[in-house]
Symmetry: C2
Subunit: 211 residues, 2 copies
Amino acid sequence: MDQGQFASTLLEQAVTELSRLPGVGRKTALRLALHILRRDESEGVALGEAIINMRRGIRYCRICHNISETDLCPICSSAGRDQSTVCVVENVNDVMIMERTRQYSGLYHVLGGVISPMDGIGPDSLTIDSLIDRIESNDNQIREVILALGATMEGDTTNFYIFRKLARFADLKVTQLARGVAVGNDLEYTDEITLGRSLLQRTLFSDSFNG
Amino acid sequence: MDQGQFASTLLEQAVTELSRLPGVGRKTALRLALHILRRDESEGVALGEAIINMRRGIRYCRICHNISETDLCPICSSAGRDQSTVCVVENVNDVMIMERTRQYSGLYHVLGGVISPMDGIGPDSLTIDSLIDRIESNDNQIREVILALGATMEGDTTNFYIFRKLARFADLKVTQLARGVAVGNDLEYTDEITLGRSLLQRTLFSDSFNG
Protein backbone atom coordinates (compact mmCIF):
# COMPACT_ATOMS: atom_id res chain seq x y z
CA MET A 1 0.00 0.00 0.00
CA ASP A 2 1.19 3.48 -0.74
CA GLN A 3 0.76 4.79 2.82
CA GLY A 4 2.89 2.08 4.41
CA GLN A 5 1.17 -0.61 6.39
CA PHE A 6 -2.17 1.17 6.80
CA ALA A 7 -4.95 1.08 4.24
CA SER A 8 -6.18 4.46 5.45
CA THR A 9 -4.63 7.53 7.01
CA LEU A 10 -7.80 7.96 9.10
CA LEU A 11 -7.16 4.54 10.61
CA GLU A 12 -3.51 5.35 11.11
CA GLN A 13 -4.34 8.59 12.96
CA ALA A 14 -6.80 6.82 15.24
CA VAL A 15 -4.24 4.11 16.00
CA THR A 16 -1.59 6.73 16.77
CA GLU A 17 -3.89 8.58 19.18
CA LEU A 18 -5.16 5.40 20.86
CA SER A 19 -1.62 4.15 21.41
CA ARG A 20 -0.89 7.22 23.58
CA LEU A 21 -3.16 5.71 26.24
CA PRO A 22 -1.37 3.97 29.12
CA GLY A 23 -0.90 0.24 28.60
CA VAL A 24 -2.00 0.48 24.96
CA GLY A 25 0.68 -0.44 22.44
CA ARG A 26 0.34 -0.11 18.67
CA LYS A 27 -1.01 -3.63 18.28
CA THR A 28 -3.70 -3.13 20.92
CA ALA A 29 -4.53 0.29 19.44
CA LEU A 30 -5.08 -1.32 16.05
CA ARG A 31 -7.27 -4.00 17.62
CA LEU A 32 -9.36 -1.29 19.34
CA ALA A 33 -9.64 0.74 16.13
CA LEU A 34 -10.77 -2.28 14.10
CA HIS A 35 -13.30 -3.08 16.81
CA ILE A 36 -14.70 0.45 16.58
CA LEU A 37 -14.92 0.09 12.79
CA ARG A 38 -16.86 -3.17 13.10
CA ARG A 39 -19.47 -1.65 15.41
CA ASP A 40 -22.20 0.84 14.52
CA GLU A 41 -21.10 4.30 13.46
CA SER A 42 -23.16 5.81 16.31
CA GLU A 43 -21.17 3.86 18.89
CA GLY A 44 -17.80 5.06 17.62
CA VAL A 45 -19.03 8.64 17.39
CA ALA A 46 -20.45 8.41 20.93
CA LEU A 47 -17.06 7.26 22.23
CA GLY A 48 -15.22 10.09 20.49
CA GLU A 49 -17.71 12.70 21.65
CA ALA A 50 -17.72 11.44 25.24
CA ILE A 51 -13.93 11.80 25.36
CA ILE A 52 -14.01 15.32 23.89
CA ASN A 53 -16.88 16.46 26.14
CA MET A 54 -15.19 15.06 29.22
CA ARG A 55 -11.84 16.66 28.42
CA ARG A 56 -13.36 20.04 27.56
CA GLY A 57 -15.96 20.07 30.33
CA ILE A 58 -14.08 18.85 33.37
CA ARG A 59 -11.87 21.05 35.49
CA TYR A 60 -10.58 20.81 39.03
CA CYS A 61 -12.32 22.02 42.17
CA ARG A 62 -10.73 25.25 43.40
CA ILE A 63 -10.70 24.03 47.00
CA CYS A 64 -10.15 20.26 47.08
CA HIS A 65 -8.69 19.67 43.56
CA ASN A 66 -11.15 16.88 42.85
CA ILE A 67 -12.53 16.79 39.32
CA SER A 68 -15.60 18.91 38.85
CA GLU A 69 -17.75 20.42 36.15
CA THR A 70 -18.02 23.64 38.12
CA ASP A 71 -15.68 25.92 40.05
CA LEU A 72 -16.52 24.12 43.28
CA CYS A 73 -17.08 20.35 43.25
CA PRO A 74 -20.40 18.88 44.48
CA ILE A 75 -18.78 17.76 47.74
CA CYS A 76 -17.19 21.12 48.62
CA SER A 77 -20.40 22.96 47.80
CA SER A 78 -22.68 20.54 49.65
CA ALA A 79 -24.20 21.84 52.88
CA GLY A 80 -24.72 18.27 54.03
CA ARG A 81 -21.03 17.45 54.39
CA ASP A 82 -19.15 17.78 57.64
CA GLN A 83 -16.99 20.91 57.15
CA SER A 84 -14.70 20.11 60.07
CA THR A 85 -12.99 17.04 58.60
CA VAL A 86 -10.71 16.85 55.57
CA CYS A 87 -9.60 13.51 54.19
CA VAL A 88 -6.31 13.69 52.24
CA VAL A 89 -6.20 11.24 49.32
CA GLU A 90 -3.72 10.62 46.55
CA ASN A 91 -5.97 11.03 43.53
CA VAL A 92 -9.45 11.52 42.10
CA ASN A 93 -10.06 7.78 41.98
CA ASP A 94 -9.42 7.49 45.73
CA VAL A 95 -12.24 9.99 46.38
CA MET A 96 -14.64 7.66 44.57
CA ILE A 97 -13.27 4.66 46.49
CA MET A 98 -13.77 6.44 49.83
CA GLU A 99 -17.27 7.56 48.82
CA ARG A 100 -18.21 3.98 48.01
CA THR A 101 -17.63 2.97 51.66
CA ARG A 102 -20.54 5.29 52.63
CA GLN A 103 -18.69 5.75 55.93
CA TYR A 104 -17.44 9.28 55.35
CA SER A 105 -19.34 12.53 55.26
CA GLY A 106 -16.52 15.09 55.46
CA LEU A 107 -14.53 16.92 52.80
CA TYR A 108 -11.55 15.82 50.71
CA HIS A 109 -8.20 17.13 49.60
CA VAL A 110 -6.75 15.53 46.49
CA LEU A 111 -2.94 15.63 46.60
CA GLY A 112 -2.35 14.70 42.97
CA GLY A 113 0.18 12.01 43.87
CA VAL A 114 2.57 11.01 46.63
CA ILE A 115 6.13 12.12 47.28
CA SER A 116 8.38 9.89 45.21
CA PRO A 117 11.91 11.18 44.57
CA MET A 118 12.53 8.21 42.24
CA ASP A 119 9.81 9.50 39.93
CA GLY A 120 10.83 13.14 40.40
CA ILE A 121 7.73 13.96 42.46
CA GLY A 122 8.59 16.30 45.34
CA PRO A 123 6.21 18.03 47.79
CA ASP A 124 6.01 21.04 45.45
CA SER A 125 4.38 19.00 42.69
CA LEU A 126 1.54 18.16 45.08
CA THR A 127 -1.25 20.29 46.53
CA ILE A 128 0.25 20.29 50.06
CA ASP A 129 0.66 24.09 50.19
CA SER A 130 -2.93 24.44 49.14
CA LEU A 131 -3.95 22.18 52.05
CA ILE A 132 -2.01 24.39 54.50
CA ASP A 133 -3.61 27.54 53.07
CA ARG A 134 -6.99 25.89 53.29
CA ILE A 135 -6.60 25.13 57.00
CA GLU A 136 -5.01 28.52 57.73
CA SER A 137 -7.74 30.55 56.06
CA ASN A 138 -10.45 28.54 57.72
CA ASP A 139 -10.26 29.86 61.31
CA ASN A 140 -10.40 26.54 63.13
CA GLN A 141 -13.34 25.29 61.14
CA ILE A 142 -11.27 22.28 60.12
CA ARG A 143 -10.69 20.17 63.23
CA GLU A 144 -9.36 16.94 61.81
CA VAL A 145 -7.22 15.90 58.85
CA ILE A 146 -7.41 12.20 57.96
CA LEU A 147 -4.35 11.00 56.06
CA ALA A 148 -5.72 8.34 53.71
CA LEU A 149 -2.78 7.62 51.43
CA GLY A 150 -1.82 4.10 50.37
CA ALA A 151 0.10 1.92 52.84
CA THR A 152 3.26 2.12 50.74
CA MET A 153 6.67 3.60 51.46
CA GLU A 154 5.80 6.66 49.37
CA GLY A 155 2.46 6.97 51.12
CA ASP A 156 4.09 6.77 54.54
CA THR A 157 6.73 9.35 53.56
CA THR A 158 4.04 11.72 52.31
CA ASN A 159 1.91 11.14 55.42
CA PHE A 160 4.86 12.04 57.59
CA TYR A 161 5.76 15.12 55.55
CA ILE A 162 2.21 16.44 55.79
CA PHE A 163 2.03 15.54 59.49
CA ARG A 164 5.10 17.71 60.19
CA LYS A 165 3.77 20.57 58.09
CA LEU A 166 0.52 20.47 60.05
CA ALA A 167 2.29 20.43 63.45
CA ARG A 168 1.98 24.22 63.72
CA PHE A 169 -1.80 24.02 63.93
CA ALA A 170 -1.99 23.23 67.63
CA ASP A 171 -5.67 22.32 67.82
CA LEU A 172 -5.74 20.24 64.66
CA LYS A 173 -6.16 16.48 65.05
CA VAL A 174 -4.22 14.48 62.45
CA THR A 175 -5.27 10.85 62.01
CA GLN A 176 -4.57 8.10 59.53
CA LEU A 177 -6.44 5.04 58.26
CA ALA A 178 -6.15 1.99 60.51
CA ARG A 179 -3.70 -0.64 59.32
CA GLY A 180 -4.69 -4.22 60.04
CA VAL A 181 -6.07 -7.52 58.88
CA ALA A 182 -8.31 -7.01 55.83
CA VAL A 183 -11.92 -7.98 56.44
CA GLY A 184 -12.51 -11.48 55.07
CA ASN A 185 -8.84 -12.46 55.18
CA ASP A 186 -7.41 -15.42 57.09
CA LEU A 187 -4.35 -14.74 59.21
CA GLU A 188 -2.24 -16.95 56.97
CA TYR A 189 -2.78 -14.51 54.09
CA THR A 190 -1.83 -11.47 56.15
CA ASP A 191 1.80 -10.39 56.04
CA GLU A 192 3.81 -10.22 59.27
CA ILE A 193 4.24 -6.46 59.38
CA THR A 194 0.50 -5.87 59.03
CA LEU A 195 -0.20 -8.55 61.62
CA GLY A 196 2.34 -7.06 64.03
CA ARG A 197 0.77 -3.60 63.61
CA SER A 198 -2.73 -4.92 64.10
CA LEU A 199 -1.59 -6.58 67.32
CA LEU A 200 0.02 -3.41 68.67
CA GLN A 201 -3.01 -1.35 67.68
CA ARG A 202 -5.60 -3.85 68.85
CA THR A 203 -9.03 -2.41 69.59
CA LEU A 204 -11.62 -3.15 72.25
CA PHE A 205 -13.77 -6.04 71.12
CA SER A 206 -16.84 -4.34 72.47
CA ASP A 207 -16.19 -1.47 70.02
CA SER A 208 -16.70 -3.81 67.08
CA PHE A 209 -20.41 -4.11 67.75
CA ASN A 210 -20.82 -0.54 68.95
CA GLY A 211 -21.34 -2.01 72.44
CA MET B 1 -21.95 12.27 45.84
CA ASP B 2 -25.35 12.83 44.36
CA GLN B 3 -24.60 11.14 41.04
CA GLY B 4 -23.43 7.90 42.63
CA GLN B 5 -19.77 7.06 42.57
CA PHE B 6 -18.76 9.59 39.90
CA ALA B 7 -17.95 13.22 40.60
CA SER B 8 -19.06 14.15 37.12
CA THR B 9 -21.56 12.82 34.61
CA LEU B 10 -19.13 13.75 31.83
CA LEU B 11 -16.58 11.42 33.40
CA GLU B 12 -19.19 8.73 33.86
CA GLN B 13 -20.25 8.92 30.21
CA ALA B 14 -16.66 8.67 29.01
CA VAL B 15 -16.04 5.67 31.29
CA THR B 16 -19.21 3.97 30.02
CA GLU B 17 -18.20 4.46 26.38
CA LEU B 18 -14.58 3.42 26.97
CA SER B 19 -15.67 0.25 28.77
CA ARG B 20 -17.44 -0.92 25.60
CA LEU B 21 -14.01 -1.50 24.04
CA PRO B 22 -12.82 -5.12 24.01
CA GLY B 23 -10.69 -6.04 27.01
CA VAL B 24 -11.54 -2.79 28.78
CA GLY B 25 -13.48 -3.23 32.03
CA ARG B 26 -14.90 -0.38 34.09
CA LYS B 27 -11.77 -0.07 36.19
CA THR B 28 -9.50 0.17 33.17
CA ALA B 29 -11.92 2.60 31.53
CA LEU B 30 -11.73 4.85 34.57
CA ARG B 31 -7.93 4.64 34.54
CA LEU B 32 -7.90 5.64 30.85
CA ALA B 33 -10.34 8.51 31.46
CA LEU B 34 -8.30 9.88 34.37
CA HIS B 35 -5.18 9.64 32.22
CA ILE B 36 -6.88 11.66 29.48
CA LEU B 37 -7.90 14.25 32.09
CA ARG B 38 -4.33 14.59 33.34
CA ARG B 39 -2.94 15.25 29.86
CA ASP B 40 -3.32 18.41 27.75
CA GLU B 41 -6.80 19.20 26.53
CA SER B 42 -5.55 19.13 22.92
CA GLU B 43 -4.44 15.52 23.31
CA GLY B 44 -7.80 14.31 24.57
CA VAL B 45 -9.64 16.24 21.86
CA ALA B 46 -7.29 14.81 19.20
CA LEU B 47 -8.07 11.29 20.40
CA GLY B 48 -11.82 11.89 20.30
CA GLU B 49 -11.70 13.51 16.89
CA ALA B 50 -9.46 10.79 15.42
CA ILE B 51 -11.99 8.17 16.52
CA ILE B 52 -14.94 10.10 15.07
CA ASN B 53 -13.16 10.90 11.81
CA MET B 54 -12.09 7.30 11.39
CA ARG B 55 -15.54 5.91 12.10
CA ARG B 56 -17.27 8.40 9.81
CA GLY B 57 -14.69 8.36 7.03
CA ILE B 58 -13.88 4.70 6.58
CA ARG B 59 -16.00 2.32 4.57
CA TYR B 60 -15.34 -1.03 2.93
CA CYS B 61 -13.98 -1.63 -0.57
CA ARG B 62 -16.78 -2.72 -2.91
CA ILE B 63 -14.61 -5.48 -4.41
CA CYS B 64 -12.32 -6.89 -1.73
CA HIS B 65 -14.09 -5.70 1.48
CA ASN B 66 -10.88 -4.24 2.87
CA ILE B 67 -11.27 -0.92 4.69
CA SER B 68 -11.00 2.08 2.41
CA GLU B 69 -11.70 5.78 2.33
CA THR B 70 -13.07 5.46 -1.19
CA ASP B 71 -15.41 3.14 -3.06
CA LEU B 72 -12.46 1.06 -4.24
CA CYS B 73 -9.49 0.50 -1.93
CA PRO B 74 -5.99 1.58 -2.99
CA ILE B 75 -5.02 -2.03 -3.72
CA CYS B 76 -8.02 -2.85 -5.92
CA SER B 77 -7.61 0.40 -7.83
CA SER B 78 -3.87 0.10 -8.28
CA ALA B 79 -2.66 -0.68 -11.79
CA GLY B 80 0.58 -2.03 -10.34
CA ARG B 81 -1.00 -5.04 -8.62
CA ASP B 82 -1.21 -8.46 -10.23
CA GLN B 83 -4.89 -8.82 -11.20
CA SER B 84 -4.67 -12.58 -11.70
CA THR B 85 -4.13 -13.55 -8.04
CA VAL B 86 -6.52 -13.13 -5.11
CA CYS B 87 -5.37 -13.82 -1.56
CA VAL B 88 -8.24 -14.73 0.79
CA VAL B 89 -7.67 -13.49 4.34
CA GLU B 90 -9.79 -13.48 7.46
CA ASN B 91 -9.78 -9.77 8.29
CA VAL B 92 -8.48 -6.30 7.59
CA ASN B 93 -5.53 -6.76 9.92
CA ASP B 94 -4.36 -9.80 7.96
CA VAL B 95 -4.14 -7.66 4.81
CA MET B 96 -1.68 -5.37 6.62
CA ILE B 97 0.24 -8.37 7.90
CA MET B 98 0.52 -9.82 4.39
CA GLU B 99 1.55 -6.44 2.94
CA ARG B 100 4.33 -6.17 5.49
CA THR B 101 6.00 -9.30 4.08
CA ARG B 102 6.52 -7.37 0.80
CA GLN B 103 6.26 -10.74 -0.95
CA TYR B 104 2.82 -10.29 -2.47
CA SER B 105 1.70 -8.07 -5.28
CA GLY B 106 -1.74 -9.50 -6.06
CA LEU B 107 -5.22 -8.60 -4.82
CA TYR B 108 -7.06 -9.56 -1.62
CA HIS B 109 -10.45 -10.78 -0.53
CA VAL B 110 -11.36 -10.09 3.09
CA LEU B 111 -13.74 -12.77 4.40
CA GLY B 112 -14.75 -10.96 7.56
CA GLY B 113 -14.12 -14.02 9.74
CA VAL B 114 -13.89 -17.78 9.51
CA ILE B 115 -16.63 -20.40 9.71
CA SER B 116 -17.22 -21.12 13.38
CA PRO B 117 -20.53 -22.81 14.27
CA MET B 118 -19.67 -22.43 17.97
CA ASP B 119 -19.74 -18.63 17.55
CA GLY B 120 -22.72 -18.73 15.21
CA ILE B 121 -20.64 -17.77 12.16
CA GLY B 122 -21.76 -19.69 9.11
CA PRO B 123 -20.61 -19.28 5.48
CA ASP B 124 -23.43 -16.79 4.88
CA SER B 125 -22.01 -14.30 7.38
CA LEU B 126 -18.80 -14.17 5.36
CA THR B 127 -18.03 -12.68 1.95
CA ILE B 128 -17.67 -16.08 0.27
CA ASP B 129 -20.52 -15.49 -2.21
CA SER B 130 -18.93 -12.19 -3.12
CA LEU B 131 -15.68 -14.06 -3.86
CA ILE B 132 -17.51 -16.49 -6.17
CA ASP B 133 -19.24 -13.59 -7.97
CA ARG B 134 -15.93 -11.84 -8.29
CA ILE B 135 -14.30 -14.82 -10.01
CA GLU B 136 -17.36 -15.53 -12.15
CA SER B 137 -17.71 -12.01 -13.47
CA ASN B 138 -14.05 -11.77 -14.21
CA ASP B 139 -13.75 -14.00 -17.32
CA ASN B 140 -10.67 -15.95 -16.32
CA GLN B 141 -8.72 -12.89 -15.30
CA ILE B 142 -8.27 -14.43 -11.84
CA ARG B 143 -6.03 -17.46 -12.23
CA GLU B 144 -5.12 -18.25 -8.66
CA VAL B 145 -6.80 -18.00 -5.27
CA ILE B 146 -4.44 -18.23 -2.30
CA LEU B 147 -6.17 -19.37 0.90
CA ALA B 148 -4.34 -17.51 3.66
CA LEU B 149 -6.47 -18.19 6.73
CA GLY B 150 -4.99 -19.06 10.10
CA ALA B 151 -3.76 -22.60 10.70
CA THR B 152 -6.63 -23.32 13.11
CA MET B 153 -9.49 -25.78 12.94
CA GLU B 154 -11.86 -22.99 11.90
CA GLY B 155 -9.37 -21.75 9.32
CA ASP B 156 -8.99 -25.25 7.89
CA THR B 157 -12.77 -25.76 7.76
CA THR B 158 -13.22 -22.45 5.96
CA ASN B 159 -10.38 -23.21 3.55
CA PHE B 160 -12.02 -26.52 2.69
CA TYR B 161 -15.46 -24.94 2.26
CA ILE B 162 -14.09 -22.32 -0.12
CA PHE B 163 -12.02 -24.92 -1.93
CA ARG B 164 -15.16 -26.94 -2.70
CA LYS B 165 -17.10 -23.87 -3.77
CA LEU B 166 -14.31 -22.99 -6.18
CA ALA B 167 -14.14 -26.51 -7.66
CA ARG B 168 -16.51 -25.49 -10.49
CA PHE B 169 -13.93 -23.09 -11.91
CA ALA B 170 -11.91 -25.67 -13.83
CA ASP B 171 -8.94 -23.48 -14.71
CA LEU B 172 -8.60 -21.82 -11.32
CA LYS B 173 -5.59 -22.76 -9.22
CA VAL B 174 -6.35 -22.87 -5.49
CA THR B 175 -3.32 -22.78 -3.18
CA GLN B 176 -2.77 -22.30 0.53
CA LEU B 177 0.07 -20.94 2.67
CA ALA B 178 2.83 -23.46 3.39
CA ARG B 179 2.69 -25.03 6.84
CA GLY B 180 6.04 -25.76 8.43
CA VAL B 181 8.77 -24.89 10.88
CA ALA B 182 8.68 -21.16 11.65
CA VAL B 183 11.81 -19.30 10.55
CA GLY B 184 14.09 -18.85 13.57
CA ASN B 185 12.51 -21.73 15.52
CA ASP B 186 14.38 -24.76 16.83
CA LEU B 187 12.80 -28.15 16.18
CA GLU B 188 12.18 -28.63 19.89
CA TYR B 189 9.77 -25.69 19.87
CA THR B 190 7.86 -26.98 16.87
CA ASP B 191 4.81 -29.13 17.57
CA GLU B 192 4.67 -32.67 16.15
CA ILE B 193 1.83 -32.06 13.71
CA THR B 194 3.59 -29.09 12.16
CA LEU B 195 6.85 -31.05 12.03
CA GLY B 196 5.10 -34.05 10.46
CA ARG B 197 3.54 -31.81 7.79
CA SER B 198 6.80 -30.05 7.06
CA LEU B 199 8.44 -33.44 6.55
CA LEU B 200 5.74 -34.68 4.17
CA GLN B 201 5.79 -31.38 2.29
CA ARG B 202 9.57 -31.01 2.26
CA THR B 203 10.95 -28.77 -0.47
CA LEU B 204 14.05 -29.01 -2.67
CA PHE B 205 16.98 -27.47 -0.80
CA SER B 206 18.20 -25.86 -3.99
CA ASP B 207 14.89 -23.92 -4.13
CA SER B 208 15.73 -22.17 -0.86
CA PHE B 209 18.48 -20.12 -2.49
CA ASN B 210 16.72 -19.75 -5.84
CA GLY B 211 19.34 -22.14 -7.28
